[in-house]
């Protein structure tokens, strides 16, 4: 009697656990969407790997929303060759290991036609390996980055150093003087970007007085404060995206605010209110700001706010480039009459689009020729100083 009751409970428990697991499994594997076929009505799948939590939340959210907006507009207008776009969004949590996980899921399980994202250059290296090298699918990277990637099915839509840094350095030197301190987060994007910036600084007769890296989310900025005190630079060139506000606070606490100029290539409009008060001497270059004057910019911002709320603003380094990317993809698929990665990649080159960032063109190097805007902090907003049209990405890549 007791034996059967024991057995009963034990078996019941194991069966229950088994049922739970099989339920999970069943719901995992329910999707084998078609890949390259162009049967009408079947959705084209775009996977988005975005940092919707963690230090890069602002950027990831902006990337995701701008992609969503473009997809919604295209779907409302009849889709791509009559096929609707289906967006599959994954949160990569500002974590490289999660990026690998989610990118693998999108290309292998969801069988998406295109992957967009991520934010960090370290995550981009990982995503390129998974999506482009291991699975030969399209990866559209829409974030500001150091450049240098050269693959058949990899395309970059954000700004690269030749576009953002080359015109910026002479301007900063005229404004503040030749002596610069380079301050960045300790990962690939700042490291490689500074390597590219250094010769540009030298060509212009400038001098790097110090080069300092701190962890992406540092808790202690005394090293930075010390370096500023010791070297007394004319300006600081910053690539410190996640907690730049905390660094500025530390500088201010040390009584050093306003003693040097600041140049950066990442502080978009949504980031600005948090840092503006402590960074009145700051200039930024990015493809998009709300004050920039591309013909389609106002219409884009209006649609964005109608969709996500009237106080919401897209971040200029990654949002509008993602919007451009979706439209360029649509054009390329229509020209290739296929979603097959190699065919789309071939059709991508030479595509032009006139959107929120003004006219852009995909070059044979798979990087985007585009306009870069230079702005200055004024009060708690930006003021447009200059626009550099048709900036060549200057990538050493022939595909």
């Amino acid at each position: 009697m007791t034996v059967t009751r024991r057995e009963l409970i034990r078996r019941g428990g194991i069966a229950g656990a088994g049922a739970l697991l099989s339920g999970l499994l069943a719901s995992c594997g329910d999707d084998d969407g078609g890949g390259g076929g162009s049967s009408s009505g079947e959705p084209i799948k775009i996977g988005v790997i975005a940092d919707l939590s963690g230090p890069f939340t602002t950027y990831g959210t902006s990337l995701n929303r701008c992609a969503e907006l473009a997809v919604k507009e295209i779907n409302d207008a009849g889709g791509i060759m009559g096929r609707p776009i289906e967006l599959l969004v994954e949160d990569i949590q500002t974590d490289v290991a999660v990026t690998v996980d989610k990118a693998t899921k999108l290309v292998q399980s969801d069988n998406v036609d295109l992957v967009m994202g991520p934010i960090g250059s370290d995550a981009n290296d990982a995503a390129t390996k998974v999506v482009v090298e291991n699975n030969r699918k399209l990866l559209f990277y829409t974030e500001t980055y150091e450049g240098g990637k050269c693959f058949d099915t990899y395309f970059s839509f954000g700004a690269v150093p030749a576009q953002q840094i080359r015109p910026f350095i002479p301007f900063l030197q005229d404004e503040f003087g030749p002596r610069v301190l380079l301050f960045g987060a300790d990962y690939v994007w700042p490291q490689r970007s500074f390597e590219i910036a250094k010769p540009i600084i030298q060509e212009n007769g400038g001098e790097v007085v110090s080069e300092l890296y701190l962890p992406l989310v540092a808790e202690d900025f005394s090293e930075l404060v010390q370096a500023l005190r010791n070297t007394q630079p004319d300006y600081v060139f910053v690539l410190y995206p996640a907690v730049w506000g905390a660094a500025l606070k530390a500088i201010d606490d040390a009584g050093l605010s306003g003693q040097f100029g600041i140049g950066n290539i990442f502080v978009g409009d949504p980031d600005l209110p948090a840092v503006a008060e402590l960074a009145q001497e700051m200039y930024t270059t990015l493809p998009y700001f709300t004050v920039a004057d591309a013909p389609k910019a106002d219409e884009f911002l209006g649609n964005f706010q109608a969709e996500f709320g009237e106080n919401e603003i897209p971040s200029g380094g990654e949002g509008p480039p993602a919007y451009n990317a979706v439209y360029l993809y649509k054009q390329a698929v229509e020209e290739a009459e296929s979603t097959e990665p190699d065919a789309v990649a071939e059709a991508m080159v030479g595509q032009t689009f006139n959107g929120p960032t003004g006219p852009v063109e995909m070059t044979p190097s798979h990087h985007l020729k585009q306009t870069i805007n230079l702005v200055q902090v004024e009060g708690d907003g930006y003021k447009l100083i200059d626009s550099f049209a048709d900036q060549d990405p200057e990538q050493d890549c022939n595909l």
Partner: protein
């Protein structure tokens, strides 16, 4: 056990099999924690240190090009396992021997410090650890030129086999006379010591064994993933594995495996469906289960069995 391992054969989904392959390595990782915490009573906040550093060692040895490096994967793998076992041995001498003889919460604090320190080191390691970027692997799992466990069912088969082997080995160990001593230590160290056993030596051996198991799982995991980054050695993963073990039921072996595989699957599933709220959902599920079954799912089954 058979239920867990056999599941993906039903679905014929290569990606799912691949994902499960990774989760099985998490299962082995959870087994290593069950050994030290579940049976030995040593609550550790630093098990990911062994899991992650093994990945790093394989990465450094197979990717870096200095001196006699890079080494082939099959040389790097045992080296990595030996390296973390050595680390555990050092830790064992430091905390269990002599006048220090740390227990309970003090041992937990030391392991926590180890995890925090590891994450900092990995982050600040410059060209050696790759800092925030981590290390991207070139090596593939398999015998070069002959065959590879790449993705699909190969990797799944490999990890499923390993999981079953480790489960059976540990079960045997736990039921053996030495295992009995370990369980005794978990219940009441002083009594076991009074019986004449060298408690410190047993604990040290178990710690080394568990670190080697965690290290093997970690090395395979990261080579398969193609990347190892600072999160791998840190506090978050160390805590996560405790959750798996607690949820499944510590001191049951099967419980931690089910906890690791089940929760990882749940995680993978929910994060796609409930984009903004998945962490919350996972948290609520965890709290609910732990309140309902304080001894974990399988611990509860054991209890109700003995109560009947």
């Amino acid at each position: 056990m058979a239920v867990i391992v056999g599941l993906p054969l039903v679905s014929e989904d290569a990606f799912l099999a691949d994902q499960l392959g990774k989760f099985f390595l998490y299962g082995i990782f959870a087994l290593s924690v069950d050994l030290v915490w579940g049976y030995g009573g040593m609550f550790t906040f630093g098990q990911a240190t062994f899991f992650g550093w093994a990945g790093y060692v394989v990465g450094m040895l197979t990717v870096r090009e200095v001196g006699f490096l890079p080494l082939p994967f099959w040389v790097a793998l045992p080296t990595a396992v030996a390296a973390v076992a050595l680390l555990a041995l050092g830790l064992g001498y430091f905390v269990f021997s002599g006048r220090l003889a740390l227990r309970g919460v003090y041992f937990a604090v030391v392991t926590l410090a180890m995890a925090v320190l590891s994450e900092r080191l990995a982050n600040a390691g410059g060209d050696i650890t790759g800092g925030q970027n981590g290390i991207l692997f070139g090596a593939r799992l398999g015998l070069p030129g002959l065959f590879y466990f790449d993705r699909d069912y190969g990797f799944y088969g490999l990890t499923a086999t390993l999981l079953v082997i480790f489960y059976l080995l540990l079960r045997r160990y736990i039921l053996s006379p030495t295992g009995l001593v370990l369980r005794g230590i978990g219940q009441n160290e002083d009594r076991v010591a009074l019986l004449g056993y060298d408690v410190a030596a047993v604990k040290r051996r178990v710690l080394v064994m568990s670190s080697a198991i965690a290290g093997l799982a970690g090395a395979l995991f990261h080579v398969h993933d193609g990347i190892v980054s600072p999160g791998a050695v840190g506090v978050e993963l160390s805590t996560l594995v405790l959750l798996w073990v607690a949820l499944g039921g510590r001191g049951t072996l099967i419980g931690p495996v089910v906890g690791a595989v089940g929760l990882s699957l749940l995680n993978a599933r929910l994060s796609g469906t409930f984009l903004d709220t998945w962490l919350l959902v996972v948290g609520v599920v965890l709290v609910a289960v732990i309140v309902a079954f304080p001894a974990g799912l399988f611990g509860f089954l054991h209890q109700s069995r003995s109560r009947v």
